[in-house]
Amino acid sequence: MTRPSLVTENLSKRFGGRWALKGLSFAVEPGSVTLLAGRNGAGKTTWMRLATGLAHPTSGAVRLGGKPAGLVRPRLAAVFDDAPVYPLLTGEENLYLLSGGRSPRTAEARAVIAGLDLEPLLPGRADGFSFGQRKRLAVAAALLRRPTWLLLDEPSVGLDSGAWGLVSRALRKLAAEGATIVVTGQDLKHLEELADGIVVIRDGAATFAGSLEQLRQSHPPRVTVRTRHPDRVRTLFPQARVVASQPTPCVEIPCATMAEGEAVLAQIRSLDIPLHSLELRAATLEETFRRLGLYAEETNREEVAQ
């Protein structure tokens, strides 16, 4: 087994009387992308600040290659959620300054800049950049550092699908070169395509740490039926539950495997009742999160329906 490249050890941080993190522990292997997920206020951004050495932990530590951030800074890069820039400077000057003095004119830097489609922005003043453009600039500044550890806070926010495609490709390439990447965020639709592993934080501690596949397996596929006869379905499958009643009742039947799901589909068809829709789907990360209760609004909706 590879030695972890980034270790978070019993990390706690208290702001006044409130614990932002409370004994968070997880490890990340080199050459991987790990998603740090959780609801707003779960402690993701606090972890980012502690990992980059911007804040001091109340107890515990984050170690990068066995050392605190302060001792590995030249090989560490970070992208923050608000992607700040110096508004009066050009894109190129911002790249130089925000990357910690790395030249944006080397061949390697040019490749990074081209990969993120930033050439047109280099001569322009940054106060005219959109949020998405600033985000790409921040990612480029981080990549110019050729980091061993790259930490990104909400990297997909503000990016359209084209821009996110450019960013995720660049991140994948960096991970393939052996870098350890940790991303935080709630845009799970985009992030699950990028991440290999996931750490779920709740109330300041990790409730799950493993691969995305392991997380999905812990929340198996389900068959969803929309019909005006939900009782007939529930007679056949007592474990089924109605998750929405308007306009047409929707019934979900959890299955252990996809094969079992196929069998459930066949049985429902044999009921010979009118169906508005019938589908078997593997759980997406977003759905898994809803089931874990990490999206408050979705949880409430389900509770009301039941």
Binding site: R49, L54, A69, R73, A77, L88, L89
Partner: protein, 300 residues
Amino acid sequence: MFRQLLLSEGRLVWKGRWVPVLALVLLAVSVWGGPVRTYQYAVSRTQHFEELRSIYQDAFTDFVVDDAATADLREAVALLSPGLGVNYLLAILAVLGTMVLPVWGAQLIGSEFRNRTAKVRAAHSGWAPVVAAKVVWLLLISSGLSLLFAVVGAVSGHVTWQAAQEAIWLAGEVTPPPPRAPLAAQLLVPVLGLFFYGLVGLLGALLTRSALAGALAGLVIPYLEWMVLGTPAWGWMLPRIAYGNLLAGQFVYLSGGLVAEPLALVPPPSPLLAWAVFAAWVLLAVGLVLAVSRRQQILS
């Protein structure tokens, strides 16, 4: 790595534009308010005497103006001499600069918080090294301004003296007093003074995370010090009075000049102590800035 950081900071200072622009404005104000206005004053006083001469010429065979009547004119003319050109502009810088440098010092740090770039710089380079690089640049700005003012003072001394010889009949009779201190000492006073008050502004911005609050702190603290403590017998140990002692000890102040000799001073037991005390204040300010930056958390 620190060299790279210094280069980055230098580019930020230069590309930020406000340092070169404000330096030029400060220089323009100083040259205009200093040698140019003093020259204009001397010329207008001379014209006044010329008017008196033309009025009374008919009544007297010879129009005599005694030394007491022309004393302030002689002093103003002396300020225009090449020997005091550097003295005059550096004395102006040593006063006006302490009002500008707190704003610059505060701006160096405050702009990082305002733009929210502090966290990126801190994550990539460490906050303490970033702040240390800014402190070095503050010293370089103070030194650069002193050198610039010295060079401009040397040039303006020759220009104004030449002009005075032609326009002011008294100029040929004026023997300017010698400078009170060697050039190096004259240069060092504004370097230390500007650096110190710049550090106060920088420290204020570091603690409050605001350029405005930092600048106000740098500008208000000397007045607060004066209002609260006044001029006690041990006052030569206070930074404001220690700096005043240095100014009075190194520069020649004459009437007709833009700046006057500092008042309410408490002389130290030995002139060297004024240097030691003020240098200690500068070192204390540097130490405080570095200590705060090492412990500071960047949370936004």
